[in-house]
């Protein structure tokens, strides 16, 4: 089929132990690409010696895994975007997949947007599945809040981001992780230094309390009692009356008639 997909792989860290590992969202993106049966390449910008990069080589989906991971050798503390843009221009894949946020560092989620602006690709955020229609356009489903999914169609080159909650799950195979190749590349362009931000360890944010007001008795009541709905009360209506009232209420909420 000749579909070419490039997956952007970053280093993640375990939320509990802080050990370096592959980033969950990027692994999902890789699994999605492998599942499709496309020609998959993957690229990381950073230190080629990181042991955690081998984790990517071991991920299998649809009985396939990566044979080779390209690593562009850029020291930490530098802007990786010029190197990545140059690499992707050379490679010119049909689809670029990335995780929504990096797990280490600032993780602002801007990378995909900067790449899309630089390469002039369409960008779709937070997808769950990807397929190619008969006319060569892409069909995507996008994950929305509250369990909903949206169907989208895209013509032409595409960058899509995948969240850590996407449904695809790869299987890890140790032998493939050992067997895979890591190919070092030198950046062809200058990567400028980043301005170091001021960083401090995160403190737990206070939970927002329901604002009680008035004296202690009122505040205790507000904290411990059932918050009363400001509702209508129908005492012993007929079943039809009750059903009509509920239907009217649901209509006001936009839930009636159900779609």
């Amino acid at each position: 089929m000749g579909l070419e997909i490039t997956v952007l792989c970053s280093l993640g860290q375990h939320p509990g132990s802080g050990r370096p590992r592959c980033a969950t969202a990027d692994v999902r993106a890789l699994a999605l690409a492998l599942q499709l049966g496309a020609e998959v390449s993957a690229v990381h910008v950073g230190d080629p010696e990181s042991a955690a990069l081998r984790d990517y080589l071991g991920q299998t989906a649809g009985r396939r895994s990566l044979e080779c991971l390209d690593v562009i050798d850029v020291p930490t503390g530098r802007d990786i975007r010029p190197a990545l843009i140059d690499y992707l221009r050379q490679k010119n894949p049909d689809v670029i997949l990335a995780g929504t946020h990096a797990e280490c560092g600032e993780g602002s989620g801007m990378l995909a947007y900067d790449l899309a602006a630089a390469l002039g690709h369409a960008l779709v955020a937070n997808i769950d599945s990807l397929s190619v229609a008969a006319d060569g356009s892409f069909e995507l489903t996008q994950v929305l809040a509250r369990g909903r999914r949206r169907a989208l169609g895209v013509d032409g080159p595409l960058i899509a981001t995948i969240g850590a909650g996407a449904a695809v799950r790869p299987v890890f195979a140790y032998a493939r992780a050992v067997r895979g190749q890591i190919r070092r590349l030198k950046p062809a362009v200058e990567c400028p230094l980043f301005v170091a931000p001021s960083i401090r360890p995160a403190r737990a944010r206070p939970k927002r309390l329901r604002a009680g007001s008035g004296n202690a008795a009122e505040r205790l009541r507000a904290a411990s009692e059932t918050p009363a709905g400001q509702g209508r009360l129908l005492v012993d209506p007929s079943a039809e009356e009750a059903a009509l009232a509920i239907a009217d209420y649901l209509r006001a909420e936009g839930l009636w008639p159900p779609s």
Partner: protein, 418 residues
């Protein structure tokens, strides 16, 4: 013996002919001024001479109310300053929220709420709260940019509203929305553009706007002041501090929404005429999801059964025609009438549905804890005094077995008649 020496010195009286002893306290003018101020206003907490907060115990007692038995009632919530305990004074007349009008603001702050279906989420309100925090006191004004008509934005804190109500912006059109925001912002040159950092709405559009403006935005900002934006980063392990960028992506609960005592005018601005940009993305609409397969925690509309439900075929039929996710109390899950992952409550799932329909549930505290984040609750119960009925925004005192089939019938008639 430093203590005793100081005590002796304090006893010394000034001797005639000698210069008066210096009184270091009196020299701290600001402190005295503050003390004088505190005496005048009677506020209990003031700034001391060293800049530390000082609590005046006398003022605390003065301000405290008294209970019927004559005991002091001290309110330590910090809101005491605003409450008058002056018994006998005339009752404060509630004149509704104060309307704030800003004619010629010094600068603009743009807020783009998600405003999904024309409704403000609590996240949207928090972002408005953060914007008001920046604008209040600095003579700024807040402009809301929305893409459909809906709920009043003045109550959330918008001074002006720019509404691009065009079919081209409906559905998933983030490119066009971002272009419209940039075009709308060009006329106002706002100091900041604030977006709720949500996955496919504000966060998506905000990042596009930032890319168009060649800005590197602060994302997941949970504290915003005029000179500082704090983002939670590095996998929630660190805070990144920086001067606020032009585009700011705000976390949920970043600021308190404005109180119900204030309201802004939300005056309509004429949106600039813009040509909808070309886009390669087409929205094919929402996919039908099987409500049974949606995890309860994510469900938007939940219909729930308790011990008062005996007719389970009617319950399942109603859930299906309503397209609602099924839930239940612990009693029915213990009895095996619903699977365990359908249990709502403290030891089950904490749900955040927009609407919760409860049939025959008494409303035990453990159950109510599971639905604190539900917006609207409808209760059907035979017991007028059940806690669930008290919680309900609409409550019907009726047998659930009668109401469930009646609702299903009503729906079938509507669908058949339409």
């Amino acid at each position: 013996m430093p203590l005793r020496r100081r005590a002796r010195r304090a006893l010394q009286t000034p001797v005639a002919g000698r210069p008066l002893r210096r009184d270091p306290r009196a020299e701290r003018e600001p402190g005295l001024a503050a003390a004088a101020h505190s005496a005048a206003t009677g506020s209990a907490i003031n700034v001391g001479p060293s800049g530390r907060l000082r609590r005046d115990p006398r003022a605390v007692v003065r301000q405290a109310g008294r209970s019927a038995t004559g005991r002091l009632r001290i309110d330590r919530s910090g809101r005491a300053g605003t409450v008058s305990h002056d018994r006998g004074a005339s009752e404060h007349v509630d004149a509704g929220p104060e309307l704030i009008c800003i004619e010629a603001p010094a600068f603009w702050i743009v807020v783009v709420p998600d405003y999904e279906g024309g409704r403000l989420s609590s996240h949207d309100r928090d972002v408005f709260g953060a914007a008001r925090k920046l604008s209040d006191g600095a003579e700024g004004a807040v402009v809301a940019v929305v893409f459909e008509a809906g709920e009043d934005l003045g109550a959330a804190g918008a001074d002006r509203v720019l509404c691009f109500d065009d079919a081209a912006f409906a559905g998933y059109a983030p490119d066009r929305r971002a272009a419209a925001i940039v075009a709308g912002a060009a006329a106002l040159t706002p100091r900041h553009l604030l977006f709720p950092d949500t996955a496919v709405a504000g966060g998506d559009i905000g990042r596009r706007v930032a890319a168009m403006l060649a800005d590197s935005p602060a994302a997941n900002v949970h504290r915003l002041r005029a000179d500082e934006a704090v983002s939670r980063a590095d996998g929630d392990r660190a805070d990144y501090l920086r001067a606020p960028s032009r585009v700011l992506l705000m976390a949920a609960e970043c600021e308190l929404p404005i109180g119900a005592d204030r309201c802004c005018e939300a005056r309509r601005l004429e949106p600039p005429a813009i040509e909808p940009s070309r886009t390669t993305i087409t929205d094919r609409g929402l996919l039908p999801t099987n409500p049974g397969s949606v995890p309860l925690a994510e469900a938007d509309f939940v219909i729930s059964a308790g011990n008062g439900v005996t007719d389970w075929t009617a319950f399942h039929a109603l859930a299906e025609v309503l397209g609602a996710a099924e839930g239940g109390s612990r009693v029915v899950c213990d009895a095996g009438l619903l699977p365990r992952e359908r249990q709502v409550g403290a030891s089950g799932t904490l749900i955040q549905a927009r609407c919760y329909l409860a049939f025959g549930i008494s409303g035990a505290p453990q159950h109510l804890q599971g639905i604190v984040r539900c917006e609207k609750v409808v209760a059907i119960n035979t017991d007028l005094h059940a806690e669930m009925v008290k919680r309900g925004d609409l409550s019907a005192i009726k047998d659930a077995q009668a109401v469930m089939p009646a609702l299903t019938r009503l729906l079938e008639v509507r669908v058949g008649g339409a």
